[in-house]
């Protein structure tokens, strides 16, 4: 069943939710938020899109398989975790730039860790949900 109300609402909600998820990601270091929550909100945006327009439409919107986000995110996180080793510090130590950057604020290696988590969460959640819902579609076709 396709509801036109949900469809037109999703059209506006999708960018807003994605923006909000990015906001959560950026404020995560000192305030509530962070990569995991941000990633969940972003994947909810896509899930909402798939509810209203069907899973195939969302996969077309994403262009790539969500699975390919996982190695990218993991790679970024692993880099930021092991980077301090090059400076003789224990792994996972936060490295910070001296000067704050406008709008975003202080940038450190923990932001990149969060960014990695954000991508991994989107990848994992969407992969799982798409697997379940595509399975269902196949069952119905049978």
């Amino acid at each position: 069943m396709r509801s036109p109300i949900l469809q037109s609402a999703t059209k506006y909600l999708l960018p807003i939710l994605l923006l909000f998820s990015f906001f959560l990601l950026l404020r995560g270091h000192y305030y509530p938020g962070g990569g995991f929550v941000g990633g969940l909100v972003a994947s909810i945006a896509f899930v909402l899109h798939s509810f209203s327009n069907g899973t195939e439409a969302t996969m077309r919107l994403l262009k790539r398989k969500p699975l390919s986000l996982i190695p990218v995110g993991l790679g970024i996180s692993v880099m930021s975790v092991t980077l301090p080793l090059l400076f003789g510090l224990p792994p996972m130590t936060g490295l910070w730039f001296e000067q704050p950057i406008p709008v975003i604020g202080m940038i450190g290696s923990s932001l990149f860790f969060d960014l990695g988590v954000y991508l991994v969460v989107i990848g994992v959640v969407l992969t799982i949900l798409f697997t379940i819902s595509l399975d269902n579609n196949l069952d119905e076709k049978k």
Binding site: L67, V78, P90, P91, M92
Partner: protein
Amino acid sequence: MIDNHILAPVFIHLFSAVIQLIAWRKTITQRIVSIAGSSLGVLLAIRLLSRVHTDGILTLNAANWEAPFGIVFVADLLSATLVLLTSIAGLAVSFFSSTGLNRQRMLYGYFPIFHFLLMGLNGAFLTGDIFNLYVWFEVIIISSFVLMTLGGRKTQLEGAVKYMAMNILASTFFLTGIGILYGITGSLNMADLSLKIQQVQNQSLVGITACFFILGFGIKSAVFPLYYWLPSSYHTPPSAVAATFGGLLTKVGIYAMIRVFSLIFIPDEFTRNLLMTIAVLTIVIGSFGAVIKTNIRRLFSYLIVCHIGFMVGGIAMFTKVALMGTVFYLFHDIMVKTNMFLIAGLIRQLRGTMDMTKLGGLYAHYPKISLLFALVLFSLVGIPPLSGFWPKIYLFKAAFTLQQFAFVGALILGSLVTLYVIAKLWAEVFWKDSPSDVIVEDKFEPLPLFRKILLVLPICILCSVTLFIGLNAETIVQLVDKISDQLLDSTMYIEAVLGKQN
């Protein structure tokens, strides 16, 4: 002593997993990365062990937060040796799975998940924080779920349901234990807990918490009343996966028990009796199960249960000699059990079945490979001077000193049944003539030489390590002697983590 590089054996597997994920569906690249990563892992583990051997216990404060506030990683002799053995077993399995596994499974990401599993195992051995241990356990079980279900055959999925349910339950018990422990002490660092647990007023609450840990680790290591999931799931996945599971997963439970009982809950009379009862019953049930099975892998699954009992019994006695026996047996068991499942996989390649009634005549066709198998099987039985023999001496000695005659009886029963079962296996699979009505489906013969070598090489690697443990027992005994000193006297561990106590 602080060393920022003790996590290298963990990171190497993480890196290989990420590279393999990027090379998704390119199975040749994945195989090369897997073998290269595992070899590097072995080298890094050797480096770690030699550093720990010369410099004493090494620690790492994650994110530079000082213990007991941050998460701390500790490499003492026990963990460093286990990391090395895990890496060797991992290398062998990655060789074996590069040919012994069908392509379909590799396409669905066998190799990256396998490396995540090895990462989790190494992390669990190295962590010094009880909640972090829980997190590593979860990394291990999530990857093992995926490995167990890859391929999606019916029996495999059915085994996976039982495996999943019991393991999640085990984690829940473990987490409950951690929650109560945090409530009564306010700390999660194991060295700190070791100091704070003595000051708790209500010691009976500590006993109850210990029971939660016994339940959680008991399910993981498959001891008597909680072992059912193991024989009903370990025979279902492909042999390379079963080798990793059989060799390493239950042993993590034993490692966690040794760690927790030597640091936090020093076993009192009640815990000792409980563990001893569990150990005796585990050995008895495991050996009875092994006698009646005709499928090779099911038989090996019951032998795992049986031999877990030996180690739990050693922990229950908790004297220096008993701990030496337990730790020595742990080292021997990791190598031999991994190898046995690889052998089961190779037998399947040679004959197309794992049912003993349908097998036969292997010795006539493949005398060299059969002799290789014989070495491993004799080590398992514990024929002197092979590796299974030495730890049992220590276990017997400790049991006689403490007059634990039930355990002595169980040890004798367990060893005899192992001997009987292996003799039966040898007669049925290798000596007996091949049954005439069975069509032999030899997948090994047509393979090119290179792939044959890849299948036999891992068994040779593990076999040579087993031979090293057995024939060079003096070195291992000295190592085990130091380990049990470190386990019994936890001040060294605590000082390494928290600094000098006044």
